[in-house]
């Protein structure tokens, strides 16, 4: 049976095999995946070209000066230092407070909470992740400001007690050297940071909780079986295992905080260009994102220098977001690489100090606001820690030489000390987690209650859901004096529906490509660009559409704001969310199921459509809902494109939206406007929550039936 030379007959293996249907399906999904790359490329080109003029014109002064003139007609230079500074400080504080609370809450929910508490709390956190950020901002203005500001407010007492700390000082210096007193009106960086903290809590908590739940029980049990306390098993088995996902969650939260426009714009609108970077947190400020929202009327292509400078500002925010993503990637890979390389070399004191310095780096950056304080605190920590380390090193060397320890050291080296210490830490951390949970849950519950109690009654005002804001009934009839928000509900519905129509198929097909065919260079590129796209702050996306669609009169002539552009911006916003969740969910479908399908002689594309996707359908739908809920609550991109309107005149005109009602009327002092905003907030929240709860319920019961 010896045939000649079968050896050496190489068979290159193609991923899709020879089946025609497979090839068509693979190419189809690849085309949709390529659209994502295309969007990001266009984005990059538009922003580079658009800001080119400003980059040369402003030069380095953009980063050193804090003077941002009202317009560029007299050829002045623009300086963005104030906004960059405000962005970093507010996001940093938000990350410290929100990050602590969320991770603590996530650990509590997945490790400590008794069964009866676990489900409702987790469900609530997930719901709150869908609440639009403008609701948080509105809550900040209407409620938190009131508590914090004023002569009786928290800020005043903070200043009274801690006024000696630079960050709670009440004096700011103007550029001319004059000292100004800060009015404690509750609209300042501190309050904005607090609102941001609360806002990012549900996001980080729900993702971290999911991550922690994926840690296999064998890991926990392995640690527990070695005699670990509960806290030790969390610290040494659960958290290291879930590290990658938790860092990812934090970065996502930080990204939201960085790009959050409206909540901040509500609170700290209009920093004075006369005041330089300030130590105090109790004065007004501005972040990059809020600058866009507060000055959206001035962003006009007619003012070449000004427009270009705004684009440059957007580019800077984008680069900051990108850098943070890259930093997180680096952190994750570094920790993996470190554990791979970790040999038994003894750590020198110097390397450990360096490690701790790195850990302290971030708080130090945040506390740069008050250099004196941060320096002192870190010095104290390092000295105390170094003392204990040295003590321990001495003790070890004594033990090694079999010498007796001096009496006081013996007390410390008492063998039961470690056991008692472990028991204490266990209890301590448990208490800490409960506190974290409270910090996370209480403000969130407060928001829900406040919006309901204030917003629900408004809906029962005459014609509130029938008339538009100019007083005309939406579906014809004579105008009355009763105004409502009907046109905004319709506008939001139309914008979201149109956005979803484009975004959902694009996102899902690209996600299918990534999970089923994406293990190659092209797939990596798509994945990277999808992440970049997701990291683009929503206001920048609005600016992008403004530049590409409206300024070029792409859909509607005459550089007119229109609904088509708004829907497009929303569609692009939701694509990366859907793509990445679809990909991740589909990857969770075990390979064995795919193989089972293939082994029955079913082509891969059919297996994908009939086995893989149905197995993961609830996850895919969750991703879609997340995307839809997200864009329904988006304000910034619609603000720059659709612009809002007091009546609904079709998509060719400026198009109204619920979020825009809140933004336009939310800060006005008169009752009518405030009522309108509460009503809009409540309606928006109900829509988003119904979306989440309803569809999730439907999928769950369907999955149950099929399982």
């Amino acid at each position: 049976m010896a045939t000649t030379s079968p050896v050496g007959q190489k068979k290159p293996i193609t991923v899709t095999g020879a089946n025609l249907g497979d090839r068509i399906f693979a190419s189809l999904t690849a085309i949709f995946a390529a659209v994502i790359i295309l969007i990001v490329v266009v984005f990059g080109v538009v922003f580079t070209i658009g800001s080119w003029n400003a980059i040369w014109h402003n030069g380095l002064e953009f980063f050193t000066s804090f003077n941002w003139p009202d317009n560029g007609f007299d050829n002045p230079k623009f300086g963005a230092l104030n906004y960059i500074f405000g962005t970093l400080v507010s996001s940093g504080i938000a990350l410290l407070i929100g990050g602590f609370a969320s991770i603590g809450a996530a650990v509590f929910l997945s490790e400590y909470a008794p069964g009866w508490l676990r489900t409702p709390l987790s469900f609530m956190v997930e719901l709150l992740a869908a609440v639009p950020s403008i609701v948080y901002g509105f809550w900040g203005v209407q409620f938190l400001s009131g508590i914090m500001g004023g002569p009786e407010g928290v800020e005043q007492s903070l200043n009274n007690t801690f006024g000696w700390l630079p960050m709670f000082n009440n004096l700011v210096t103007t550029t001319t050297g004059r000292e100004l007193k800060v009015a404690f009106n509750g609209r300042d960086i501190l309050v904005a940071s607090l609102v941001l903290s609360v806002m990012i809590i549900p996001t980080i908590t729900s993702i971290s909780r999911d991550v922690i739940r994926t840690v296999p029980d064998s890991q926990r049990e392995g640690m527990l079986a070695m005699g670990a306390t509960k806290w030790q098993s969390i610290r040494r088995a659960v958290l290291p295992f879930g590290q990658r996902g938790i860092i990812g969650a934090i970065v996502l939260g930080l990204g939201r905080a960085l790009g959050e426009t409206i909540a901040v714009a509500f609170l700290i609108g209009g920093a004075s260009t006369l005041v330089g970077p300030q130590n105090t947190l109790l004065n007004r400020g501005e972040t990059i994102a809020s600058k866009f929202a507060n000055n959206y009327n001035e962003i006009s292509p007619a003012d070449t220098n000004g427009f270009s400078s705004f684009l440059e500002l957007g580019l800077v925010l984008f680069v900051i977001a990108l850098l943070i993503n890259i930093l997180a990637q680096w952190l994750v890979t570094r920790s993996t690489a470190k554990s791979n390389k970790q040999t038994q070399q003894k750590k020198t004191l110097l390397t450990t100090v360096w490690k701790w310095l790195l850990l302290l780096l971030f708080p130090i950056l945040v506390l740069m606001v008050s250099p004196f304080l941060s320096l002192a605190i870190s010095l104290i920590i390092i000295v105390v820690w170094g003392f204990f380390k040295a003590l321990r090193a001495y003790q070890v060397s004594m033990e090694e030489q079999n010498k007796h320890l001096p009496r006081p050291l013996e007390l410390i080296a008492n063998p039961d000390k470690s056991y008692n210490y472990r028991k204490f830490m266990n209890l301590f951390m448990q208490v800490l987690f409960v506190i974290a949970l409270l910090v996370a849950i209480v403000p969130l519950a407060a928001i829900l209650i406040l919006v309901t109690t204030k917003g629900l009654p408004v809906l029962f005002q005459t014609d509130f859901l029938i008339n538009d804001t100019s007083g005309r009934p939406l579906f014809g009839g004579a105008p009355t004096s009763n105004t409502g928000i009907a046109q905004a509900i319709l506008g939001t519905g139309v914008l979201v529906a149109l956005g979803s129509l484009i975004g959902i198929p694009l996102g899902i097909l690209a996600g299918i490509y990534l999970s089923e065919y994406g293990d190659n260079k092209f797939g990596q590129l798509v994945r990277f660009t999808a992440d970049v796209l997701q990291g683009i702050p929503s206001i920048i996306m609005g600016l992008f559409i403004l530049t590409v669609v409206i300024n070029t009169s792409l859909f509607v002539p005459g550089q007119k704001y229109n609904g088509w552009a708004g829907a497009l911006a929303l569609a692009i916003m939701m694509v990366p969310i859907i793509t990445r969740t679809t990909e991740e969910i589909l990857r969770l479908v075990p390979v064995s199921l795919r193989e089972a399908g293939l082994a029955l002689g079913v082509p891969k594309w059919k297996t994908t459509l009939t086995v893989v996707i149905p197995s993961a359908i609830s996850g895919v739908i969750t991703g879609v809902i997340l995307g839809v809920a997200r864009i329904a609550g988006e304000t910034a991109p619609v603000l720059l494109t659709a612009r809002g309107n007091d009546s609904f005149n079709g998509l060719n005109d400026q198009t109204p939206a619920l979020t825009l009602i809140m933004y336009t009327y939310g800060r006005r002092p008169d009752t009518l406007s405030v009522d309108r905003s509460w009503g809009a907030a409540f309606t928006l929240m109900v829509i988003v929550l119904l979306l989440s709860v309803g569809v999730r319920y439907v999928t769950r019961s369907r999955i149950k039936a099929s399982l």
């Binding site: 005699g227 040999t343 038994q344």
Partner: protein, 264 residues
């Protein structure tokens, strides 16, 4: 090496143990005595409660939501099911090796071995090195890994990972080692290695092993217990005796049926 290995371990006595998952009773009224420095094997079909019994011995049973148990389990003089006993301390004295090797992926081989000591607050690098080497040698793994102690534990093969888990368990010098089907995920050669290892370890520890594999029970154990679940899926101890007697001349008909493969 020998002097240290010949130490006397403590035995475990179980009295009238009942264990539940929520409302479901998993094992009923089990009383059994595990003698020091012996290997006891628990055999029986799937779902007969042998793993549940094992997990009760170091209070890992209660880790599962809704699980609880009644009865007494004595390690030496101490009732470990007593409410006042800290489970973390029990687990320090009674180590456990799981069905699937579960080394900690974030830790290197060395760190995996000394993780138990680190939990107890030991951070003297010289001492840790010494114990890591000693434990790996006792787990017959030292020669295979001595040049790559810094690599992650999960880079080893399945059989090596399982021996790493055993090394990790013996590093804290427990009295008793529980093994829950330690070889079911391994190939025959790794299985053989682990069996050799168990026979060596019993000179120092009391070993209790749950296994599906009757040949394994016959090969390694001194005593064998046979468990069986009735219609309501509650496991009971049918017979517990010297291994030789169990396999050649069991008292109970059901034991004989199971061992001769007629069962089912």
């Amino acid at each position: 090496m020998s002097e240290q290995q010949q130490a006397q371990a403590k035995g475990v006595v179980v009295q009238n143990l009942n264990a539940y998952y929520g409302k479901h009773q998993a094992i009923r009224n089990v009383s059994i005595e595990f003698k020091p420095n012996q290997i006891a094997a628990l055999i029986g079909p799937s779902g007969c409660g042998k793993s549940t019994l094992l997990r009760n011995l170091n209070r890992m049973h209660e880790v599962i939501l809704g699980a609880r148990s009644e009865g007494k389990i004595f390690l030496g003089e101490q009732n470990i099911l007593d409410k006042k006993t800290d489970p973390a301390r029990v687990r320090q004295r009674i180590g456990m090796v799981f069905q699937k090797p579960n080394p900690f992926p974030a830790l290197s081989i060395r760190e995996n071995v000394v993780s138990g000591l680190r939990l107890q607050g030991e951070d003297n690098p010289l001492k840790l090195d010494r114990i890591a080497e000693e434990s790996l040698q006792r787990a017959y793994l030292w020669d295979e890994v001595k040049d790559k102690l810094g690599e992650p534990g999960v880079s080893l093969s399945g059989g090596q990972q399982q021996r790493l888990c055993i090394a990790r368990t013996i590093a804290v010098e427990p009295d008793v080692i529980l093994m829950d089907e330690p070889c079911s995920a391994l190939d025959p050669i790794s299985t053989m290695r682990i069996e050799e290892l168990m026979l060596a370890l019993k000179l120092r520890f009391t070993i209790i092993i749950v296994t599906h594999n009757m040949q394994q029970a016959a090969r390694v154990s001194d005593k064998t217990g046979f468990m069986l679940a009735g219609a309501e899926r509650t496991g009971e101890l049918i017979e517990y005796d010297d291994t030789k007697k169990m396999f050649t001349n069991p008292r109970d008909q059901r034991t004989e049926d199971y061992i001769s493969g007629k069962f089912g």
